[in-house]
């Protein structure tokens, strides 16, 4: 199961990834799939870790998570 955490810009995506790495949380950065973006075009963190814990860490450091999307296993694209 993967989780997408939508953030507001590419800058905040990389800031978030750097912060999460320091917290031993591995994540990638992807272009947000269009079906999940309300505003059109965006970037998301993709991770397998507990999303709530991740959101808490990011929020504590001033990084807004716009939306969290869980992609069930089997529905993940390779």
């Amino acid at each position: 199961m993967k989780h997408l955490l939508l953030v507001s810009s590419i800058t905040y995506a990389y800031k978030a990834r750097h912060l999460l790495q320091q917290n031993w949380i591995k994540c990638g950065i992807v272009r947000t799939p269009e079906q999940y973006t309300k505003q059109g075009c965006g970037y998301s963190l993709v991770l397998r870790e507990d999303p709530q814990r991740t959101v808490d860490i990011l929020t504590r450091h001033g990084i807004k998570v716009l939306q969290t999307v869980t992609i069930p296993a089997g529905a993940e694209k390779s």
């Binding site: 810009s9 590419i10 800058t11 990389y14 800031k15 992807v30 272009r31 505003q39 075009c41 970037y43």
Partner: protein
């Protein structure tokens, strides 16, 4: 060819910067923050790394680093953003036109008023008194240079910051001549710092930085695509993308990252003392040379950026610079885009010749330069029909 015009732009660039340009063009050709493919993402990550480096160098968070096209772009964003609602601004008579022209155009349109105060060399009390006399009820901001691009005179930034804090003013600093030579930090009591990437930071032309205090939001100068929120008609609310509409100068930014690494290895203090030593020698020898007039009445460490401006009596500064250029010495002669400085300094008719060395100049080059200036002063070949 001996280059002494680093106040205009630095030359040559460190080898690491040249290499970074090559690598940027070859390997980082994507548009950062626009697509999801490897090239775009690789370039975006590289840009973020430079943002982190700049943040570490200037002691701000990466998102407080705004990449601009040059210092003028940064100053226009800062001034027009801060003064969007009108009011009064205090500035000085030593400013570059990148400060004065935005102020003047806004004033001419009836949107703001501004006062340009005198700066008294060697007397910070007098300079601060001038700021105080200019203060009005509707004063909203101070925008001033850290170091004059004509005389090198450093303004008392910490005291001006104190003045701003006591009076609730936003402080915008033009660090075009000091970033990369002297420490500049928002923690000095500043709200916005604007700088060129291509002068003493040793990046390439087409780059600048604006450092923005956290919590300060300005209307963006330029609006357009930012790569996210494409269905929104409004600019993003958050920095840095709010102020970086359009494709950024990826090659320039990546090169700036290499430049910051290089500066970190060299050390600002060492750079400043080295360049000031070259300037001090020029100042002292020209002071003793008949026919040469120096614009500054004194030249002391920590009072000046590494700039010495002078004239040869009776000669147009542009003509002197042209003569020096013929002999292989590259300096700027004229008015230095400083509309008020030369009338203020009494050089409105001649302008001035500006010596501004860099880290790659050496004492032997200075000796050759001084010999040439002395020759011109002794036997002027070009005369301006002033008299």
């Amino acid at each position: 060819m001996i280059y002494f015009d680093n106040a205009a732009t630095s030359f040559p660039k460190p080898a690491a910067v040249v290499q970074a340009v090559n690598e940027a063009v070859r390997f980082y050709g994507g548009n950062p923050g626009r697509s999801g493919h490897q090239m775009s993402m690789r370039t975006a990550e590289k840009i973020y790394q430079v943002r982190q480096k700049a943040g570490a160098f200037f002691d701000v968070r990466p998102e407080q680093v705004i990449f601009t096209l040059n210092c003028t772009h940064a100053l226009n964003q800062a001034i027009k953003g801060v003064m969007a609602e009108g009011g009064h601004v205090i500035t000085t008579r030593l400013e570059h036109n990148s400060v004065l022209r935005p102020l003047e155009s806004m004033a001419a349109a009836g949107r703001i008023q501004y006062t340009a105060v005198p700066v008294t060399e060697g007397d910070d009390d007098a300079t601060l008194a001038a700021f105080g006399e200019a203060l009005r009820r509707d004063t909203r901001a101070v925008v001033c240079t850290h170091g004059s691009n004509v005389t090198g005179t450093l303004l008392p930034v910490s005291r001006i910051a104190d003045f701003c804090r006591r009076n609730g003013l936003i402080f915008i600093l033009d660090a075009a001549q000091t970033a990369g030579v002297l420490p500049v930090r928002l923690s000095m009591g500043l709200d916005i710092i604007c700088m060129a990437g291509h002068k003493s930071l040793h990046g390439i032309t087409g780059t600048g930085l604006m450092l923005l205090r956290e919590g300060l939001s300005l209307p963006p100068l330029m609006e357009g695509g930012t790569g996210t929120g494409s269905l929104e008609l409004q600019a993003p609310a958050e920095p840095p993308e709010r102020y970086e509409a359009g494709t950024v100068n990826t090659v320039g930014i990546i090169a700036l990252g290499a430049a910051l690494d290089d500066l970190g290895r060299r050390g600002l203090d060492r750079i400043y003392r080295y360049e000031m030593a070259l300037c001090a020698r020029v100042y002292e020898e020209l002071r003793r040379t008949d026919g040469v007039q120096l614009l500054a009445s004194r030249f002391k460490l920590w009072e000046k950026a590494p700039i010495v401006s002078f004239n040869i009596r009776g000669l147009d500064a542009g003509a002197v610079a042209a003569r020096l250029s013929e002999r292989g010495f590259l300096l700027r002669g004229g008015y230095h885009c400083a509309a008020l400085a030369h009338p203020f300094l009494g050089t409105a008719e001649q302008g001035a010749v500006r010596f501004s060395p860099g880290i790659f100049n050496n004492p032997r080059q200075v000796t050759l330069f001084l010999d040439e200036v002395k020759k011109i002063a002794k036997n002027p070949a070009v005369r301006l029909n002033l008299f």
